[in-house]
Amino acid sequence: MAGIKTLIGKGTMAQNHRPWPRAVVTAETWAGAIAGLAAGQWNLLGLWGEPACVHMALLDATDGEIAVLSLDGASGRYPSVGLHHPPALRPERTIRDLFGLEPDGLPDPRSWLDHGNWDLRHPLATKPSSVPIEKTYAFLPAEGPGLHQIPVGPVHAGIIEPGHFRFTANGETVVRLEQRFGYVHKGIEGLMTGATIAAASRLAARTSGDSTVAYGLAFARAAESALQIDVPPRAIYLRALMAELERLANHLGDFGAICNDAAFALMLAHCGVLREKVLRIANDVFGHRLMRDRIQPGGVTGDISSDDFTTLRALVADIAARFPALVDLYDNTASLQDRTVSTGIVTTELVRQYAAGGFIGRASGRAFDARKNLPYAPYDSLAFDVPLLDAGDVNARVWIRIREIEQSLALVTQLLDRMPEGSIRSNLPAAGKACEGMALVEGFRGDILVWLSLHPDGTVARCHLRDPSWLQWPLLEAAIEGNIVADFPLCNKSFNCSYSGHDL
């Protein structure tokens, strides 16, 4: 089978797009790419717009090759990808909402992020219209004897983000779940357009607060690729250290919270303590509990001392000593297993089709972790495993997290052992000419894609941030089908997708 390079070979190569190639292609090549997506040849990493152009990022899972295809959209229309490849449905509805570009043949005419409240239409188009869209929204019909609907949200019962879930149930059993999002749409990509790199970096780090390190890193790496600068080795290690601490804190929090949603509060209490320990030490060592804004294009903002090494090693030892008892407890509590085993199953076909990453993909047999499959420094020189399971249920998503906690602890130790000496920041050169950079970074939730295009004066021409949740949320609709309504919180927590990262 021809590879991705052949696919884009006929296109016009963008001159300053790094590290992967981007080609402006014809409608024919675009159609060929769609056919490849539908046939399962490529993974769709992202699909985003510009005022007169659409881009799709493809991954060849067999060899790790990536390319961006760009299609001219000056006519205001382009051939729909979603028509043949369902994972593109929501991105295309979004491109229409934001830019007014019409995907020809898209089966779903409804808006996605735009709820008719913005006082304008197509906010990112060259000329937005002052007439907002209608506020009415038609949920998919579900009719039949014995069916009833349960609307939930946007304001939920817990301390969580807002979104709307529309359940159609037959008695206790969920027949269909339909999600509606966009409530926390802040217009981040709009705010980024024209911003300085420093301002855009702050916005990127506020796309999804739980992944602030991963977003900071993804944005920085995209900017560094665009500007062609090298980051000092010590900064690369410090970044990875923060990334692993973030993964650790989030996985610990999730492990406790999932068990809590199965009414096993003891685990939340213990995991909450471990998570708090990580955050406090992050605060001591890096000066912020979530380590926000510590990663900047060019490097990191602060160094760590020899005392910090001791503190971090003690943290790893402490968690490594306490964690196994919690894993045993999970493994040996039948009432807990009863809730998690075989609940909310996602099939391997679906995670492959959606290119879903993170623990959701890896719990359903998709062996993808950006740290391994598209290795970036320092992970290319560190030893770690990517745990993989194929049951695809809540239990499997718990176990992937457990194993990743163990891997992250080992990674922190390796990073400390091998920490290079030297500076922690390179100066950013002036852009001088228009340039583009792209990065894929493995956050705790999955791979985050950042695509950045810079003006010659170094300000942002366009930045697209694709949260892993885009590829995961739709699978929750599938996972809950046939489960009971009462298991939804458990399934949802085992997914733990980001609303803010998705809504932007």
Binding site: H115, E161, V184, H185, G187, I188, R206, A269, L290
Partner: protein, 173 residues
Amino acid sequence: MRKLLFQSLVQMPLTEAAPSADDKALAELGASLARVTRRRLGRSLSIREVDAGSCNGCELEIQALGNAYYDLERFGLRFVASPRHADVLLVTGPVTKNMRMALERTYNATPDPKWVIAAGDCALDGGCFAGSYAVVGGVSAVVPVDLHIPGCPPPPLAILRGLLALLEKVSAG
């Protein structure tokens, strides 16, 4: 499990001494509390958290209030699922245009006397999201705010101090 439970019994508790109520917050609250019917709530407040557009960072720190170190419930403070059961709305985020109506409705569903705390830099004035076509602004642009807790996100201790300041004022009233 028995071993874990036993260890918890014999270990010293992790819960830390109560922080003092935030003085600045006490001053800020003075005016707002004089306005309302002061009523003893038995040193207890029910809080409904509303994410009006946050990045979810503020939520993480609010959730942390429940862990063993802060143990929010020992102060008589607890999170409730419905605004109809709440005395306090703890609102985070810049208010997005898509969340404005939900926030208004939640406020209207909360019985009097009620207080609104805006947590986080975004909740003050929209933070770095101010000026976007999709953002209304800070929380006070939509509902009256009694107390603001700064930070991005405010650490749990800062949120706790603010809540305790409110509790002190309410129960002294």
